[in-house]
């Protein structure tokens, strides 16, 4: 494989692994817990690095991943004391752990190939050159690590699809059905931790937040269906990985940074163009809704007492143009019937009111 292919594959695997679990973080309103975990695993990674001289072996991933669970537990315990609210608990816990990590890096990893900056944005460009031998093939170690995590996350999401879905949308129901929402919660947090640690050397502790949160958020603007959300999020992740790589080559800048930026771009596009949740869609929906409301108000008025356009115009504080427009709609839709010059709402019109007000 050419180095470029390795980088692209590594980035795509990181994007898919993160998008799969990140989607659930977004849906559960826990985006910032993901942020906290990604920072707080740092001391675990550094200690493991100092002990084993590598950052992507299995013991490191599991050991540092456990620190992610500890973080979640610490935040929850602090909230349970009822002395500090959740947002503040997050903001107190993760910087403290991150500070310990930075302190360890600066103090003890001096001169080794783990430095403070790589902590923040990783270096995916090294992926092709950090190799291992697997089944007789020489292959990139970060690629193997991230591909395994992506596969693991896929298995996790598919196997626990029903549980994750119910625990996300209705924890109480999940509990009554005999599932343990707490177990699902900690499994998810554990998966997020492992994913974060595995992505660490390629994308770093902070940019991984973009990989976790942004594709899932963008996907939620396109669909309400969970399986589609997961698919779209993964697709956005992979697309951004490709786009980002080419941007990075063009600008001669950080590859992971460009991938995060590309995800931001995908989010902005979704924000503007998504059919129902996008800015255009919403603007259009609001406009149409306002029209339907006005027409229904007009029908309601004519259901109470017959009248004509001139009388109605005097009663409502509408411009002549508005009255003419709404009048045109209700007559062309045959929602009102005339007796002489007195118009009254007919059966179809009443049905239309019912449809709009819908009580």
């Amino acid at each position: 494989m050419s180095p470029d292919t390795v980088i692209l594959l590594t980035g795509s695997c990181a994007a898919v692994a993160c998008a799969l679990v990140g989607t659930f973080l977004v849906l559960r309103g826990m985006a910032l817990i993901g942020d906290a975990i990604s920072h707080a695993v740092l001391p675990g990674i550094v200690i493991a690095f100092l002990l084993t001289d590598s950052v992507s072996s299995l013991p490191v991933v599991l050991g540092a991943g456990a620190l992610g669970l500890v973080t979640v537990w610490l935040i929850e315990s602090l909230v349970r004391t009822r002395r500090v609210k959740e947002d503040a608990s997050i903001a107190v816990v993760f910087p403290a752990l991150f500070a310990v990590g930075v302190l360890l890096v600066t103090r003890f990893a001096h001169g080794k190939d783990l430095d403070a900056e790589c902590v923040l944005y990783g270096e995916i460009a090294f992926a092709p050159f950090d190799t291992m031998t697997l089944w007789g093939m020489v292959i990139s170690r970060p690629l193997v690590a991230l591909a395994s995590v992506a596969a693991l996350n896929l298995v996790f999401v598919v196997a626990l699809y029903k549980e994750l879905k119910i625990a996300t949308f209705d924890g109480a129901l999940a509990a009554t059905l005999g599932m343990s929402p707490v177990l699902v919660h900690y499994l998810l947090m554990g998966t997020v931790s492992v994913t974060t640690v595995a992505s660490f050397e390629s994308v770093g502790a902070i940019l991984v937040v973009a990989f976790l949160i942004v594709p899932g958020s963008a996907a939620w603007l396109w669909t309400d269906k969970l399986h589609w959300m997961l698919t779209i999020a993964a697709a956005i992740g992979v697309t951004s990985a490709f786009l980002g790589f080419h941007l990075a080559v063009y600008w001669d800048a950080s590859i992971a940074g460009c991938m995060a930026l590309a995800m931001g771009g995908c989010f902005v596009l979704s924000w503007i163009f998504a059919p129902r949740e996008g800015l255009f869609g919403r603007w259009n929906l609001r406009r149409v809704t306002r029209e339907r409301f006005a027409e229904a108000l007009l029908l309601e008025r004519l259901a109470r007492a017959p009248g004509n356009a001139t009388e109605v115009a005097a009663e409502f504080c509408w411009t002549a143009e508005q009255v003419a427009r709404h009048w045109a709609t209700v007559t062309s839709q045959k929602w009102i019937t005339a007796t002489g010059n007195a118009w009254q709402t007919n059966e179809a019109g009443r049905a239309q009111i019912q449809k709009i007000v819908g009580d």
Binding site: V92, F98, L221, D252, S254, C258
Partner: protein
Amino acid sequence: MVAAMDFTLFNVVLGSALLGLVAGALGSFAFLNRQSLLGDALAHAALPGVCLAFLLGIALDIPPKQPLLLLGGALLTAWIGTLAILAITRTTRLKQDAALGIVLSVFFGAGIVLLTAIQHNVGAQQSGLDSFLFGQAASLLPSDVWVIGILGGIVLTVLGYFFQTFRIVVFDPACAATLGLPVRRYEILLTTLIVVAVVVGLQTVGVVLMAAMLVTPAAAARQWTDRLGHMVMLAGALGAVAGATGAWASSLEARLPTGPLIVLAATALMLFSLLMSPRRGLFWAAMRRAANRRRIAVENLLKDLWRLGERDGRFASPRAVSDVMAVRAASMSALGQAQSSGLVRRNGTLVQLSERGLQHAARIVRNHRIWELYLSRRLDLADDHLHRDAEDMEHALDDDVIEQIDEALGRPGTDPHGRPIPRGVPGSTVEAAL
């Protein structure tokens, strides 16, 4: 101490303390407004601004590391970040947490792209820009300290001036709006002040740790006081102490970064406050719970002794310790406690209620039985549910309440199980002391 400090160190300590002061005071409002992570997002969003300002400096051929130029750039993108967060939460179904996460990570990604592009393309001159990532208090110049001092002074003056208004806008924005206060404008003002504090702090503690500078001192201060004014001042003071301590400690040895040490100092203050503050401290709460548990154990012991007395009518006669312990695996420590408070007398393997112990036991048993009776008559609880409930309540009810219930029930003679409700100490049954 100060005399021994050289001028550079004095500079660094002063700058860090000033930053801690400003961030702590402002952070109090973010903390109370449940926007603790806004500072975090804004700090990350400032990074691309710093880089853009640097590029602008090069393009205009002015010194690109001019502090005010970089601060201006940081302010600009942090502001755009704030607006983006607002716009996302207003116009999409995404909640605050996702909006913060998106802005934080994407802006940071943009910052990293610019930073690495500058490093690769502009080259040598870049050194120093990456100090914004983790902060580099050690490199603070006197001119930087002046900038921090002046900006901080302005921020704190504005905060002091609008203190009362900020209080109501944060506490009850709907009410503030009906009072005719321009709530939106005050919120923007408050966020701007936070942005200034964040931007000032970037040089010292860096992008990632700035959240802690805002929130940790405020969370610590909240534990000590219930007054907003005191809280803001205390948070400022704790922030200053953390800043000075961290900066000083980092000078002790090589390769001790200032930012993390400042944050760890603040975290230590926060933990101490959480545990030891007089009214809200978790340590004291645990002590109170333990004392309560001990009291309940002693009261149960007295009650068991009383019950043993009820069997033969001799309430004050000595019983074998092993018999008493057998009733409910009571602990020896409860016995020791009761003995040292003079409620029981003990001689070898025998234990006996004292005069005071008798009174106390009679009162507890009376409370327990009256409560059971009340539950059974008024709430129609089944008999087998009564005991557990009364068991918990007898230690919590005060005598006034029991007196009222007793009167309301018509001073009954027996409980629902037919056992007598003791009224006063059965004087005749008191036997000679051991």
